[in-house]
Every structure is written in C-alpha cells, then in structure tokens.
C-alpha cells in the first residue's frame, strides 16, 4: 500500500500533512506519535472511511473487502445487548453480507475463533459484562474470522491487562507470520521496540518511517514532541502548501 503526498483533514482541519511512503506487503508497522498526531485519522483514510484532502492512497491490489479494522474500544457501544458469539460472528460479514443467512459453518468458525483468543465459555455473555481485556479479545476473534490481508488496529492495547496484551501480541505475531500486512496505532514504545519491526512516527507531519530502532531514535521522538507542542489552533493552514 503506497501513500503519495497524502494530506488528510479532520472536521475541515488538516490532520496529517504530506505523507509519502509505502507499507510493504507482509510488513508489521507500529504507528506512533503524540496525541492528536493524526494516527487514527490515517487508519480511517486507509480503510476508506474518509477521502484524502490531497494526495493519493494506492492500495496496490488490496480491495476494501480485504481490510479489517479494529476500532478504539471507546468507539464501541458497550451497553449494547449483544453476546460474544454474535459479535464475533460479524467477522463473517464479507461472506454472509448484509442479508445472507449465517450458516452453521460460520457459527462453528466463530466458536473456534472465540476459543483461539481464550474466551471459550463466554459465547453467551453479553458484551457489557466483559472486562476491557475480554472485549478486546472478542474483537480480535472477530478479526480472526474476517481473515483479511490488511489489518488496521487502533490502540489495541489501551485499557487491556498485561496478560491479554501478551496473548494478543502472540496473535499479531501469528498474523505477521502468515504474511498479512499489519498497521497498529500504539503508545507503549517499549512494546513497539520489542515486537514491531517497523515504525512510522508522525506528529501531523511524518517524522520518521523505517526500521523501529532508527525511526524511534531519541532525536526523532524529541522532534515529534516539539512539533506537536508547536502546533496550535491558530496555525491551521497547511504551511508547506502555502
């Protein structure tokens, strides 16, 4: 997936400026940056939920249906009366569609996915009764079922306990081993250094993109922090474009 001088706007304010580069097929990239750096916006643009303000996004043979997106857990209505099995079975959407009937094989796959994330026995539990970690496991099970080639994870480990993080990291490693392309928004730099070979550091503008060790060098991190501090509401127009 290739990005050409991509500029994205969020509520008509520029959120990501002039980003160019490529997520290689099968790469495992951490998307890192200060709060409000445009990380979630970038993921949403990749999944096609928003149109770029300028520049292009080239998916290189991946269709919309090959993309799986894990929203931030806060975007989910956790009081919604739906049980774990039904939530996970939504992962079969691409095969079942909006109107199709859920076949026995899909339910079976959903059960297997639930077992794979360590939630066996929770099938009939309403999602409102799950802890943050358990809910995140269920969402990963849904992604398992989606069987997508490009996976976009928005803060998968926020509000998640250490053990769940470890289990879900193993799942991500498995997907990486299967040759899927993965982009994950993350905050924990130690975790990124330990588990993600590549990193993209952004602070409204791209700071560094490449092997994690060099991309997240102290100099780059400092630069990212400076840029996010210097940015303020008054300086909205895109400086480079002017």
């Amino acid at each position: 997936m290739r990005l050409h001088d991509l500029t994205l706007t969020y509520r008509r304010h520029p959120a990501v400026h002039h980003l160019s580069g490529r997520f290689a097929p099968g790469s495992l990239t951490a998307l890192v940056g200060p709060n409000g750096a445009g990380k979630s916006t970038l993921l949403k643009a990749i999944m096609g939920a928003m149109r770029p303000h300028s520049g292009r996004l080239e998916l290189e043979g991946i269709g919309r249906q090959d993309i799986a997106y894990l929203p931030q857990i806060a975007e989910l209505d956790r009081s919604f009366p739906i049980n774990v099995l039904d939530l996970v079975a939504l992962g079969a959407w691409r095969r079942v569609g909006m109107f199709g009937r859920l076949a026995g094989s899909h339910v079976e796959q959903a059960r297997e996915a639930i077992a794979a994330v360590g939630l066996a026995g929770f099938e009939r539990r309403v999602i409102g009764t799950l802890s943050g970690g358990q809910l995140q496991r269920a969402l990963f099970a849904r992604m398992l079922l989606q069987d997508a080639r490009l996976l976009l994870l928005d803060e998968p480990f926020a509000a998640v306990d250490a053990r769940t993080t470890r289990d879900l990291l193993a799942l991500i490693a498995r997907w990486h081993g299967e040759g899927r392309t993965i982009v994950a928004v993350l905050h924990d730099l130690e975790l990124v250094r330990a588990h993600f070979p590549e990193a993209l550091l952004i602070a409204r503008e791209p700071v560094a993109w490449g092997a994690t060790a060099s991309a997240l060098s102290p100099a780059n991190l400092l630069a990212a922090r400076r840029m996010s501090e210097a940015w303020d509401e008054a300086a909205l127009p895109c400086a480079q474009a002017a």
Partner: protein, 288 residues
C-alpha cells in the same frame, strides 16, 4: 370476570376494530422503539411525532378529515424535519437533540395554529389524541399496511441497523451503507408515527413506541428478544387501556399510555435484568 375482559370486544365492533388497530401498531411501532432506545434516540421519536402535526393539519385544511391527505402531509413534514434537524446538527456545532427539539417545538406551534384556523377544538383534540374507538376501514388498512412494511423492512436491514449502532466503524469498514440504513430507519419511524396518530393522536403515539421499548430492556438481553417483548407489552397495554376506558368511560388513548406507563414502572422495579429488584438480589447474592 371473563365477561368483564372479553365482553366489550365481543359486544361491540368498534372495540374489536380498536383491538386490531392496536395489535398492528404494537407489532410495527414497538420494535422500532427498541431500536430508538438502543440508538439513544428516544427524544427523536418524540420530536418526529410533533413534526407530523403541521403536515397532518395542512392535509386536514385541504381535504377535511381525509386519512389519505393527512397521512401524506404527516409523512412529508415528518421526514422534512428529520432531514433538516440532521443537517443542522451536521453542519453546525448544535447537538442533534437540541436541533430536534427546536424543530419539533416550531412544528407543534405551527400545527396547532393551522388546525385552529379552520377546525374546531374537537378537530384539534382528534389530531392530538386520536380516535382509537372510531377507526374506519381505511385507517385500519393503513395501520396494518404500515406494520407489514415495517416488519419486512426491519427483517431486511436488521443486521446493518444493529452493527451501525454497536460499532459504526466496522460497518464502514465492511462497506455497509450506514447512512442509507439510517435514513430507511428514520422513514420507518415517521411512517409508524403517522399510522399511529390516527389511533392515538400525535401526542400519545410516541408513548406506545417508547414505553414498551424502555420496559423491554429490563426483560431481555438481546435485541430480538427485546423487540418481541416490546410488542407483547405494547399490546398488553392497549388491551388494558381499552378495557379500562370502556368500563370507566374514560378517553382511550391516555388510558392506553397510562397502562404502558404502569408496565414500565413494574419493569423498572421487578424486571429480570438491571431492575431495582434484580440489582438488590444480586447485591445480596454477592454479600453472602
């Protein structure tokens, strides 16, 4: 006892008609109410019911007490207000509930004004509180047709509606047409409110949509179950209200809504999930 409960329906055609109309209304409107509650749009239903009023009034001014004219007018203004309110909240910082409130207050004022221009206060009461005891064939067919369309459409877009509410990002990612589904849903709500207003009037029709739906939340933990229970409770409220109004010579439409209110109160206190009783029992269970 049996005579007290079944007698009025056996003896009088208008009671049977009211019963059939209420059954159709409960089957269509109550499941929509459940979705409105889940989508945190309870007040939107209220707003739309008032938005119907000016349209129905214009229909009334043009063609008198004609079901067709009042229905078309109601649907048109109901949908217009839904669209305008959505637009205002999207284009300005005003939140959706506030923009809906603004539109429905204006609609209510306009509607009452229009009706009183030519009609009598009896006509106004008819529009505001309905005529469940005087449903003619045309009204019954209209309510039944709307209920059928509602159930079929809900069955078709059920999955998308649920996902759009639970996890809108997911629906976008799998390419579901969230906006289209939302509009269809709003159209169904307007249709049912219009159908219901002939029976219960614009002020009361929201009650049969929302009260059973809010009650159902205390009895089931899944959407389909809540919809079925809401329809059941809605119908029970209608029967109770009709009988009460018959035996005590009271107006039917407020009696029905009060019955639904009583069921709501009982559900809050005694329901299986999350009611005060259920919470108290759970607390005791945890303490021992």
């Amino acid at each position: 006892m049996l005579d007290l409960l079944a007698g009025p329906f056996l003896d009088y055609g208008f009671m049977r008609r009211a019963l059939v109309g209420c059954l159709a209304l409960s089957l269509g409107a109550c499941p929509l109410g459940v979705l409105l509650v889940l989508r945190r749009m309870s007040l939107v239903g209220d707003a739309m019911a008032h938005a119907i009023l000016p349209g129905a009034a214009i229909g009334f001014l043009v063609a008198g007490l004609s079901i067709v004219a009042m229905t078309i007018g109601g649907v048109v203004t109901g949908l217009t207000v839904a669209l305008l309110a959505g637009l205002v909240s999207r284009l300005t910082p005003l939140r959706e509930d506030a923009s809906f409130a603004a539109f429905y207050l204006v609609s209510l004022g306009l509607g009452v004004l229009l009706v009183s221009v030519r009609g009598s206060s009896v006509d106004l009461l008819h529009v505001l509180f309905g005529t469940v005891l005087a449903l003619d064939n045309a009204a019954l067919f209209l309510i039944a047709a709307i209920a059928s369309v509602t159930m079929l459409t809900l069955a078709l877009i059920h999955r998308a509606l649920i996902v759009e509410c639970l996890d809108p990002g997911f629906l976008r990612a799998v390419g579901g047409h969230g906006m289209l589904v939302h509009m269809l849903f709003l159209a169904l709500v307007v249709l049912n409110l219009v159908g219901g207003f002939h029976a219960l009037g614009t002020l009361m029709v929201v009650g049969i949509m929302m009260l059973p739906a809010a009650s159902a939340r205390f009895w089931s933990e899944n959407v389909a179950g809540q919809m079925a229970i809401a329809s059941l409770l809605g119908f029970a409220a209608c029967v109770t209200g009709l009988l009460f109004s018959y035996h005590h010579s009271l107006p039917a439409s407020p009696a029905i809504i009060l019955a639904a209110g009583a069921i709501y109160g009982a559900s809050v206190l005694l329901g299986r999930h999350g009611s005060l009783l259920a919470s108290a029992l759970r607390l005791r269970h945890l303490q021992h």
